[in-house]
Amino acid sequence: MKTYVKIALFVVSFIALSGILAALYMFNLKHTDMAKARPDFILSATVLQKEFEDNETTASAKYINKILEVSGTIASVKPADNNIISISLVTGSDISSIICTFPAITDPLKFKTGDEIKLRGECSGFLMDVLLNNCAVIVNKK
């Protein structure tokens, strides 16, 4: 076999292999680890809720799909059947809060109503409350 054919074969198989590897990597890509992710916004629960209540459209454009680092006081803790934990944070409103949902592995005992907490999560938007997903605790003060 001629040398240039060998080189061509090598290049083609190299490209094909890296393509397959890249596809596999993309396919198996996990969600961003919030504990390590860089937050796009750092703010308090009260400010976040107020922005959505004042103008949902503007706040949605600003925060949805962004990583938010939110600090506040735990208003309630709700474990679901499938071990998913959701906590809500105290805001300036009685009926609307920030609901933060954690992945299934979280230890439910570490959250107590009244505790100060700082967490990171991905903003999904606003229903009655501002919803954060895929959350991770940054600081959990008693």
Partner: protein, 198 residues
């Protein structure tokens, strides 16, 4: 003088009774709450094909149930659905549901056989729910079977039904269509608690 004191104590007793009466009335009103709600309901869907199993969960469903009329309202954010693989979630949001343009889905319906549920007695009751399901800005009438479970401190509602993505103008390209079930199995699990009446 004696009469005066008697009058005062009598007054005090009456006041106390009145207070107690009001107190119990308040409890009665709270117990007889007509509206139940949740902000942490669950809706998930599952697709099974020989090529791939796909599952998505949403634990941030907001729902309200009125037990006097049987009215039910659910609302979800599409972005709150979670898949195991990040890429699938991205495709779901960007290509199929277009969640930037259409962020919410909702259901507004009614329990049609409300009389067969005794909300005062704990137990599981079979119900039929009919209403409008809006996904991807397309509204279809649906009717499904489910259960209402009256438990201490709340009401659980469960249902399983199938939906066809094409009914909601969700177009899935041919290459991927094989990997996604024609009928998606939807599971709904809601744990309602009474709304505090003021």
């Amino acid at each position: 003088m004696v009469l005066c004191i008697n009058n005062l104590t009598l007054n005090r007793i009456i006041m106390k009774r009145l207070f107690l009466l009001l107190f119990f009335l308040n409890i009665l009103i709270a117990v007889n709450a007509q509206k139940y709600m949740t902000k942490n309901g669950y809706i998930g869907f599952y697709s099974h094909t020989p090529m791939e199993d796909i599952k998505a969960d949403n634990n941030q469903v907001a729902g309200v149930l009125d037990i006097t009329t049987g009215d039910m309202v659910f609302q979800v954010l599409i972005k709150s659905f979670h898949f195991e693989r990040a890429l699938m979630e991205e495709h779901f949001n960007e290509n199929y549901m277009e969640s930037d343009k259409i962020p919410k889905s909702s259901f507004k319906g009614k329990i049609t056989n409300l009389s067969s549920v005794n909300f005062a007695k704990e137990g599981t009751y079979d119900v039929t729910v009919e209403g409008d399901l809006t996904i991807h800005d397309v509204t279809n009438k649906i009717s499904t079977k489910g259960t209402i479970e009256v438990v201490s401190g709340g009401i659980n509602a469960n249902s399983k039904f199938n939906i066809v993505p094409e009914d909601y103008k969700i177009s899935i390209p041919g290459v991927v269509r094989e990997k996604i079930d024609k009928n998606l199995a939807v599971t709904v699990t809601m744990k309602f608690t009474p709304v505090a009446t003021k």
